[in-house]
C-alpha cells in the first residue's frame, strides 16, 4: 500500500536533531515507484568488532531453525528470520603470531600475517571485499567504501614485533597495501554525494590534471629503486581509481537499476562526534545511504580498531573498558560485563539490519538483496582464541541464502569457506579463497 506522495528526499530527514541522520523507516515513506522488472543489485558488507566474545552467551545451544538466541544475540529477536548464526569457523593462519595484530589484519584474507614492524607488511592476499570490488566496482560510482570509527593506531609494538597498523585495517587492496578508511561521517557523505554536485567543467579539468600527474609519475618510475617503485605504483593506481570515478560521473548512467532515493544532498554536521554511540549510528546510517543510493555495493566497517580499550560505561551494567573486560580471567562479574559489550555491538548490527529491511527494492527489501557479515577475529578474547569465531550473516543475497538458522560447522572448518560461498553469491564463480577447503555447506 504505497502512499501518494513521492519518497522523502534525503535533505528532509538529514536535518534531524544535531548530527544524527534520521533515516525514514515508516511504511509511509516508501517510494511511489512500482515494482520494476529490473533486479536490484546485490550488496555485501563486512563488519568487524574487536576483542572477541564470551562464547557461552553467543553460540546457540541448538542448530537448525529451532534455536534460542543466547544473551548476546537477543537484540536480533525481531530479525531472527533474517540472520544465520555461524559457529565452528576457524582462522587457522592466526593460531600463531601475537594475540591481536596477527588476527585482525587477516580477518578478511584468512592468510598468514607477516610479523614485521614495517618492512614487508603482508597479510597474505587481497581481502574478500576487495576481490568483489576489483571485479564489479566499476558498476557504481565508488568501487567500495571502507569505514571505521578510530584513527589508525600509531606506533609499533616492539615487544610482540608488529606494527600496530595491522590492528587498524581489514580491507586490503593487495597483500601489502591496506585501504585507508574514512572515520569522519561528513567526509563519507561528501564522498558519496559530493562528486555529483561538481560542475562538469571542474570534473573534466580534474581529469586532465590527473592525466598530467599520471604521466609525471610514469616518467619518474625509471629513476626509482625497487621498493620505491611499489610506493609510486600505489599512487598511480590511486590516480587511476579516481580517474575512473570521474569518468563514471561524466558518462550517462548505464545502470538498469535506478535507486529509489532522491539525489539531493544535505550533509551531517562537520567533525567527528565525541560520543561513541552517536558516531557509530551515523556511520551505520551512511552505510544504509550508500547501499540505498547504489553509490557502492561493497562496504567494510570497523566498530573499533583491535585492542580497543574504549570505555563502555555508557552500557547499562558495564563499568570499564573493552579490551580489559575481554581479559576477564573467568571472573563472573567481568564476563557479565563482557557479554553486555558484545550485546551492544549486536544491537547496532540489528539497528542496521532494521534500516535495510525497511527499504523496499523491487519485490523485496534492501536487506533481502544484501549480505551482511558481522563478526570478530577472536572467539574468547581472554584466550586470544582464533577458533570457533563469532560470525553472523544477515540478508538473503538476492534469495541465495536460507536465513533463520544456526549452522554449526564441523571442527576445523576454515572461515574462508564462508568467504568462498559469499563470493559465489556475489556472482564470482571462485572455487577457493585464502585457506578454504571448499564452499561452506548448508547456506541455502
Amino acid at each position: 500500500m504505497y502512499p501518494k506522495t513521492r519518497s522523502l528526499s534525503r535533505r528532509t530527514f538529514l536535518r534531524g536533531a544535531g548530527a544524527m541522520i534520521a533515516l525514514p523507516f515508516f511504511e509511509s515513506l516508501l517510494p511511489v515507484r512500482a515494482a520494476s522488472k529490473v533486479r536490484p543489485p546485490k550488496r555485501m558488507a563486512c563488519m568487524y568488532f574487536p576483542n572477541g566474545v564470551w562464547p557461552a552467551a553467543w553460540i546457540p545451544k541448538k542448530t537448525g531453525s529451532d534455536f534460542e538466541l543466547p544473551f548476546s544475540l537477543t537484540p536480533l529477536e525481531k530479525l531472527k528470520q533474517d540472520v544465520i548464526v555461524l559457529s565452528g569457523l576457524d582462522k587457522a593462519q592466526s593460531r600463531d603470531g601475537d594475540g591481536h595484530y596477527a588476527k585482525t589484519a587477516n580477518f578478511l584474507t584468512g592468510l598468514h600475517v607477516q610479523k614485521t614492524i614495517g618492512k614487508d607488511i603482508n597479510v597474505g592476499g587481497v581481502s574478500v571485499d576487495q576481490v568483489v570490488a576489483q571485479k564489479f566496482g566499476d558498476q557504481t560510482p565508488l568501487p567500495s567504501l571502507e569505514l571505521g570509527i578510530d584513527p589508525v593506531i600509531s606506533g609499533t609494538d616492539s615487544v610482540v614485533g608488529y606494527t600496530r597498523l595491522y590492528g587498524s585495517y581489514i580491507s586490503w587492496r593487495t597483500a601489502g597495501a591496506p585501504l585507508a578508511k574514512e572515520i569522519n561521517p561528513r567526509m563519507v557523505y561528501e564522498r558519496l554525494f559530493g562528486a555529483k554536485d561538481a560542475a562538469p567543467r571542474h570534473r573534466d579539468d580534474d581529469r586532465s590534471l590527473l592525466d598530467l600527474t599520471l604521466e609525471d609519475a610514469r616518467n619518474l618510475r625509471g629513476r626509482l629503486g625497487r621498493d620505491d617503485l611499489f610506493k609510486l605504483d600505489e599512487y598511480l593506481d590511486a590516480i587511476r581509481a579516481v580517474e575512473r570515478r570521474l569518468e563514471f560521473a561524466s558518462k550517462p548512467d548505464s545502470r538498469e537499476w535506478k535507486p529509489t532515493l532522491a539525489p539531493d544532498a544535505a550533509p551531517p554536521a562537520a567533525g567527528i562526534p565525541r560520543e561513541h554511540r552517536e558516531h557509530v549510528k551515523l556511520m551505520l546510517d551512511l552505510m544504509v545511504l550508500a547501499f540505498w543510493s547504489d553509490s557502492t555495493r561493497i562496504i567494510t566497517f570497523m566498530f573499533a580498531n583491535d585492542v580497543s580499550n574504549k570505555n563502555f560505561s555508557f552500557v547499562e551494567g558495564v563499568r570499564g573498558s573493552h579490551h580489559d573486560m575481554s581479559h576477564h580471567s573467568n571472573d563472573p562479574r567481568k564476563i557479565e560485563q563482557y557479554q553486555r559489550i558484545n550485546r551492544w555491538h549486536v544491537e547496532q548490527f540489528a539497528y542496521l539490519l532494521g534500516k535495510l529491511k525497511a527499504i523496499r527494492e523491487g519485490e523485496a527489501t534492501l536487506l533481502d538483496n544484501a549480505m551482511v557479515m558481522f563478526g570478530s577475529s577472536l572467539s574468547d578474547g581472554n584466550r586470544h582464541d582464533p577458533n570457533n569465531l563469532p560470525i553472523l550473516l544477515a540478508g538473503r543475497a538476492g534469495g541465495n541464502l536460507q536465513t533463520g538458522r544456526h549452522i554449526a560447522s564441523p571442527k576445523n572448518t576454515p572461515l574462508c569457506n564462508l568467504y568462498v560461498s559469499m563470493l559465489q553469491r556475489m556472482d564470482l564463480p571462485v572455487r577457493s579463497f585464502g585457506d578454504s577447503t571448499g564452499p561452506l555447506a548448508g547456506l541455502s
Partner: protein, 657 residues
Amino acid sequence: MVRTRLPRPLKMLPPRATYLKSLLVCALVLDGFAAAHGADSQFEKEIRPLLKTYCLSCHNPQKKRGDLDLARFEKETDIGMGEEVWAEVAARVLAHEMPPEGKKQPSIEQRRKFVRWAQSVAKKSDDCKQLASDRTINFYKGHVMSRRLSRAEYNNSIRDLMGLDLRPADRFPSDGSGGEGFDNNGDALFTSAIHVEKYLDAAEYILNTILNPSAADVARFSQQAIQSARARLLIAAPGPDLPPHESACRIVAAFAERAFRRPVEDREVERFLTVFDRAMRRGDSFEMALKLPLKAVLISPHFLFLIEPEPDKDGVHELPDYPLASRLSYFLWASMPDAELLRLAAERKLHDEGFLREQVRRMLRDPRSRGLAESFTSQWLGLGVLGETVRPDPQRFPEFDETLANAMRQEPICFFDNLIREGRSLLELLDTDYTFANERLARHYGIEGVRGPAMRRVPLPDKNRGGVLGMAGVLTVTSFPLRTSPVLRGKWVLEDLLGARVPPPPPNAGELPKDDRNTKGLSFRKQLELHRSRSECASCHQRMDPIGFGLENFDPIGRFRTEQAGQPIDAVGELPSGEKFNGPRELRAVLLKQRTEFLRNLARKMLGYALGRQLYRFDQCVIDDALKALEADGYKATVLIERIVLSYPFRHRYVKK
C-alpha cells in the same frame, strides 16, 4: 611486600657490568648477524646444565615464556643464532629478575659464571669503523624509502609554500607507523584512492582561498594575510609587456621549484602550462586558468613524495645536495627546505660538514623547529591517543574536556621545543623544576597566577612534578578510564622512556577491577600485589609495578593526590635491584641513575625518526657516538640532533636494485 633477596654479586663483575646493573635492558635489535663466537666447549660442559636447571622449565619451545626459547641452544655452534638474546639474558640474570622469585635460584658463583659467559658471547666487535664503506654494504641496510608526505608534513609544507597555515591535511585519513614507531616510515605510508581525492580537494581549497577568496570560506584568515599570500604566489602579472602565457610560465616555474624542493626544467613547466593554455582558449580568466597548472603542481608526485632518485649502481652513495636539503628540513622542521637551504644546495655546499652544522644550528633556532617537537614528542610519548581513543570516564572526570586535553597535548611539545631552541639538557625530561602550562593546566596542577590560554614557561614549586613523568598527558594515557594503572605506567616508563622490553602477559593472566573504589576491604595496591604473587607474573611485574606505585600520587587525569577512596596513598616502590623510593620525587632520582638507558632510547628514537626507517646494526654506531657526545657536552638536545645529521646514515643512501 616482603621479599628475601640474595646478596648481589656486583662487585665481582667486570666494570662494564655496572651500567647493566639496572633493572633494565636495552634490547638492541640487531639485524641478521650470526657471527661465530669464540666460546669454547664451556657452553656444553658448564652453561647448558645451568640453563637446564634454572631456565628451560619456562623458556622451552612449548611454553616460550617471554617469547624466549633457550632450549634451541643445544650445542656451542648454536650460540651464534641469537647474539641479541644473550645480551638481554645476561642483564636480566644479573639484575636478579631471572629466574623469577618463587623459582629455584642459582648460587652466587653459578650466577656470576653464567653472566660472565653470556656477556662475553654478547660482546660486539667494533663494527663502526670498518663498516662505513661500500664493501661492507651488507651491514648497512638502511634503505630510506621515497615516500609520500605524512599528514603533519603536508600541512607544514603547505604553510611554508603558500605562506598561509591552511591545514588541509586535517581532513586526510590518519597514517600508521612503522620502523621505530613514527608515521614518517615509508613502508607504512600507503596511498589509497581516497588520498588522491583529498589531494585534489585540498589543492582546490588552497588555491581558491588565495586566488578567489570571495568564493572560499576564508573567515579564518585576515584580508592582509591573504593578500600577502597572493603577492607571494603571483610574482608576474600579465600586462602590455608580458603576455599571459609568459606570466603564467614565471609564476608556475617559481612555484614548482619551491614545491618540488629542487630546480625544475623548462619542459616540466611547459607541460603544466598546456592546461593553462587550454583554459585560456576556452575563455577562462587569467587567474582561473592559472589555477589549473598550480593545482597540477600540488598533486604531482614531485610535491607529494619525498623522492631520492637512485644512481645506477648498487651500494652506498653520498646523498646529493637537494635530497639532503629535504631530509634535513623534514627532520628538523617536518616541512620543506627554505630559500637558504635550497641556495646552499644549488651551490653544492650543503654536503660540506661545516655548512651542514651551521645550518642545523640555524634551523633549530628557527620557530619552524616546532615541527620536530610536535611530530617527534607526541609520537615518542604516545600522546596521539589522548582524548581520541583514550578518554577518562566523562561522569567520573567531567573536568577532562577538549580544552584541558589540548593543554595536556601542548605541554610536552612546548617543553621539548624549548629544550631544542635553548639547547638545554635532555635530562630535564626526567627531572626539572619548570614546565609549560596555560591557565587551565596550571589550575589542574594547583598553580596560581597563570592567566589566559597561551602556554608559557611556569616554575614548579611542588617538587613532585617536573619532567615528562609529571605531565598530565602522560599520566592520563597510562591510566584506565576509571582508575590509575601502576602496571601501564610502569610499562610506559620501562618501554617508552627507557627502551626496555616487557613481554606481554601470558594467556589467562588475572585482571583487576576496573574501578578503583575500594572493594572487599583490600586496597587496590594489595590486590595488585596478590596478583603478582604468581611466579609467571612476578618476573615482569616486579619490574613494572614498583615504578607505577611511585606515581600513585597522580590520579587518572594527572592531578596530585595524597589519598584515594579514603585511604592514604602508598607510593613506596622497590625495584628488583633493591633500590627503594617513596613518591614521584624519589622515583625520579632513581630514574636519573638510569640516564644511560634513557638517553640511549631517546637517541634511538630520534635517529629512527630522522631516517624514517627501522634501525639496523650499523645505526648502533651513531647512537654510541651520540651518547659520547652528549656526555661530553651537558646532554644538550642540540648535540644529539647535530650528531644525527652529521652521521653517516643520514648523509648517505643505500641503493639496492
